[in-house]
Amino acid sequence: MHPAKQKHTFEPKIIAFVCTWCTYAGADLAGTSRMQYPSNVRVLKFPCTGRIDPVFILKAFQQGADGVLVSGCHPGDCHYIAGNFHARRRFAVFRKLLEFVGVDLNRLQFSWVSAAEGGKWVEVVTDLTEKVRNMGPMTEFKELATEEQWSGAINTPELKEAFNAI
């Protein structure tokens, strides 16, 4: 039924922030329809994309996410009338900031997926997963996290081992 799955060396970690009424429902529909897609994504449910704070995206990258997806209702369809309009502006601005600081925006995807678009959910998740897989792990924030300011260099084998264990 399925072609033999290719063995990958790198499995990206994808975190998705979605709204309950549209995208989460769309993902449910993909499940009900038994559509198959890569298992790398972890979905966090919010009442509305309006609730999604840019800090969450930052936190996700800091926690080791290789790719982040933010998805909600199409403009005009927001269950809470205008939450996604505010989110749209907020994220248009935030991604410009991240881009300026040096984050590769290919790792950050935004989408509108409605409750009827199970297929689109699968497409968006698969596209992002494969794109990020080809890009490799996101090292920027991980490297930053291992750097200390005052103690300077990690210059003994014991220190090196200790840091690698984090």
Binding site: K13, T32, Q36, L44, D53, K59, Q63
Partner: protein, 665 residues
């Protein structure tokens, strides 16, 4: 210290086929804070729920995570079960390992790992869940209905018949609205006033309806279940309790030639007047702007001849506050006019039709007044300019409507039908008259509508010309109509005795100001916005406010009455309980941290954010902070994402809960 109970559901084979549920239960059981972790075949079944309840009590669980299908499926089910076991329902979360895991991944190892992570994430989240008690808002079981046209009347009667008090506020001296102005109504041609006046009288006599006419809404405060509405009762100059409706004052009034708005200004009235004979209430009003007594200080004849002594020149406007629990907005419509609009107005007039200055070019409502038996001409179709009977009338459809270049893109829905009706009324009254109709399309979708329309053509000899009119101009005492007949492909010119324009339906003047007082949304034409175009057509996004009739969009009488009853049903649902129960997923402001920048208020689509003064014990003002009304907040959380210091938190989706989930991954 948390004692979390984790229940992994097999869902028959739906989950267990691709997820090793026992392994997940084991792995999750090792997480700190998890006191109980086990798998079960069907958690949503009766025995499954019993297991859940029993385990909560036996194991003294503090929180519950049910890993099964989508929360959209069974969150309510499990929260109810948890509540029955004595735990606050919001301490129960679901982990979706079916729709988002077992059903979409075939590889057992991958699916199991993912399921474990998902459950682990929800375990960390649930640790940050707080007890959220249900929000109850008391409900005042009285309703306000704004507008006394057929929509307002129907809604008021339905609600009052259900046993609840209704306050009906109407701007004009009488209820009845535009329907009272109509002559006969489609598709049955029964007399409009004959079917309406019994309802109007019912309203006047109903023990549960408090009628305020010649009154306007001054101020609306409060929220669903608890509105305080200030009504301005304008001074009629007549004491309603004393007046017997004998009408002597009107016969003696010396000012007899004031254009009567009800008769579309072709009929005249006196300064002390009732708008039409069947007016409800049958109490006159003095038009102070045109009354000799108020203008010059002389006259006062009406007071002298009034037997009961009801005329009161000293009467003043009054402000009355009425507490209500729900508001039905039924303010109706106004008709578009072709006159020249002010510079910069998005809506344009029809210069090509003379901007309304050509005599005997009238609109549909004026034709209704001519045709009406109780109208200014006693039902005779005559030209307003010279009183002669027109032998050729040209009716033009879609004036203003469907005209993007004039600023109105929508169709006004009722004009195809009423123009067909007009041709028939004209034919019945002027047997040798000829009606021409210039039209683009015939929109007649209702029950018996198309048959009615065809009757106009096939039986009543109306000539329908498919084409538009480019210009009207005066030629002697006739009006030349220049149009086209696109079926044949020729230019047509008709010398008409009268032209009737089917003008667009627009919301009432001042609709936007009223909407701002109520806090409801409106579109660019000032029609009021419903909460959802298909599934919630009679409610506003603002809780507790409902819509009925043409104020929401052009519609005919059957639709208006349906919508009015629908709005009334919504009100009755609201009133069916003494207290309104709401899910406690609402935002709350941490007042200690709030600096009153009100960014939250700017983004709240529901108007749920209010100002709150924080004072010290001496009563000095310390600061003004935001306050979220738990009766109005819909729980989207946009406020929290906008607040820079996150002083407003959405219960159920706090930053703590979210960060716990991210950090668990």
């Amino acid at each position: 210290m948390s004692r979390i109970g984790v229940f992994i559901c097999h869902c028959g084979e739906n989950i267990s086929r691709t997820v090793d549920v026992e392994r997940v239960a084991q792995e999750v059981g090792r997480l700190p804070g998890v006191a109980f972790s086990s798998d079960y075949k069907y958690m949503c079944s009766d025995p499954g729920q019993t297991l859940l309840k029993k385990t909560i009590q036996d194991q003294k669980l503090s929180h519950v995570v049910v890993a099964a299908c989508s929360p959209r499926m069974h969150e309510k089910t499990f929260r109810k079960a948890v509540e029955a076991a004595g735990l606050n329902p919001f301490l129960c979360e679901m982990a979706n390992i079916r729709e988002h895991c077992s059903w979409v991944h075939e590889n057992i190892e991958e699916a199991t790992v993912k399921a474990t992570e998902i459950v682990g994430m929800m375990v960390e989240r649930v640790k940050k869940n707080r007890v959220l008690p249900t929000i109850t808002v008391p409900v005042t079981k009285r309703s306000l209905v704004i507008g006394g046209g057929i929509a307002g009347i129907q809604a008021a009667l339905d609600i009052a018949d259900a046993g609840h008090e209704v306050v009906l506020v109407e701007r004009e001296p009488s209820i009845g609205g535009h329907m009272a102005q109509l002559s006969e109504t489609f598709p049955t041609l029964d007399c409009s006033q004959c079917i309406m006046t019994p309802k109007m009288v019912d309203v006047a006599n109903h023990p549960k309806i408090k009628l305020y006419t010649y009154s306007e809404i001054e101020l609306v405060e409060g929220f669903i279940g608890n509105f305080q509405v200030t009504i301005k009762k304008k001074a009629r100059s007549v004491d309603e309790d004393r007046c017997t409706g004998c009408g002597v004052c009107m016969t003696k009034c010396p000012q007899k030639k004031i254009p009567n708005k009800f008769d579309q200004n072709i009929g005249m009235r006196t300064a002390i007047y009732i708008p039409f004979p069947q007016a409800v209430p049958n109490t006159p009003v003095i038009d102070r702007e045109n009354c000799t007594k108020f203008k010059t200080g002389k006259c006062g004849v009406c007071q002298k001849v009034c037997g009961p002594g009801a005329v009161d020149f000293e009467q003043e406007d009054r402000l009355i506050v009425e507490p209500v629990g729900a508001i039905v907005v039924a303010t109706g419509f106004d008709l578009y006019t072709i006159d020249e609009k002010p510079k910069g107005s998005p809506i344009k007039g029809y210069g090509e039709f003379g901007h309304g200055k050509i005599p005997d070019v009238i609109d549909g409502m004026t034709f209704e007044r001519l045709a009406s038996a109780s109208g200014p001409t006693g039902g005779k179709i005559v030209r307003p300019s010279d009183g002669k009977e027109p032998k050729q009338i040209v009716f033009i459809q879609c004036i203003g409507s469907r005209a993007r270049e004039k600023g109105i893109s929508y169709c006004s829905k009722v004009c195809c039908m009423y123009t067909a009706k007009h041709t028939m009324l004209y034919h019945h009254k002027v047997h040798d008259g000829q009606a021409y109709v210039f039209f683009m399309d015939a929109r007649t979708p209702g029950k018996s509508y198309d048959e009615f329309w065809r009757r106009a053509i096939e039986e009543e000899e109306a000539v329908y010309i498919r084409g538009m009119v480019s210009r009207l101009y005066q030629k002697g005492d006739k009006i030349v109509v220049m149009g086209s007949d696109i079926a044949v492909g020729v230019q047509v010119e008709i010398e008409a005795d009268m032209v009737v324009l089917a003008t667009a339906i627009q919301p009432q003047k001042g609709a936007d100001l009223l909407a701002q007082k109520l806090g409801i949304s409106y579109d660019k034409y000032n029609f009021y916005s419903e909460a959802h175009a298909k599934l919630r057509p009679v409610e506003c996004a603002t809780a507790g406010i409902y819509l009925a009739g043409a104020c929401q969009g052009p519609k005919d009488i059957p639709e208006t009455v349906s919508q009015a009853s629908a709005a009334a049903a919504k009100v009755m649902t609201l009133f069916s309980k003494d207290k309104l129960e709401r899910e406690p997923i609402v935002a709350r402001v941490r007042e200690a941290g709030c600096v009153g920048c009100f960014a939250c208020r700017k983004v709240c689509a529901y108007g749920a954010v209010e100002e709150k003064e924080i004072r010290d014990r001496q009563g000095n003002l310390i600061k003004v902070v935001a306050y979220v009304n738990p009766g109005v907040c819909a729980g989207c959380g946009t406020c929290q994402a906008t607040c820079p210091s996150k002083c407003v938190e959405l219960d159920g989706y706090t930053d703590e809960q979210v960060i716990a989930m991210i950090e668990a991954l």
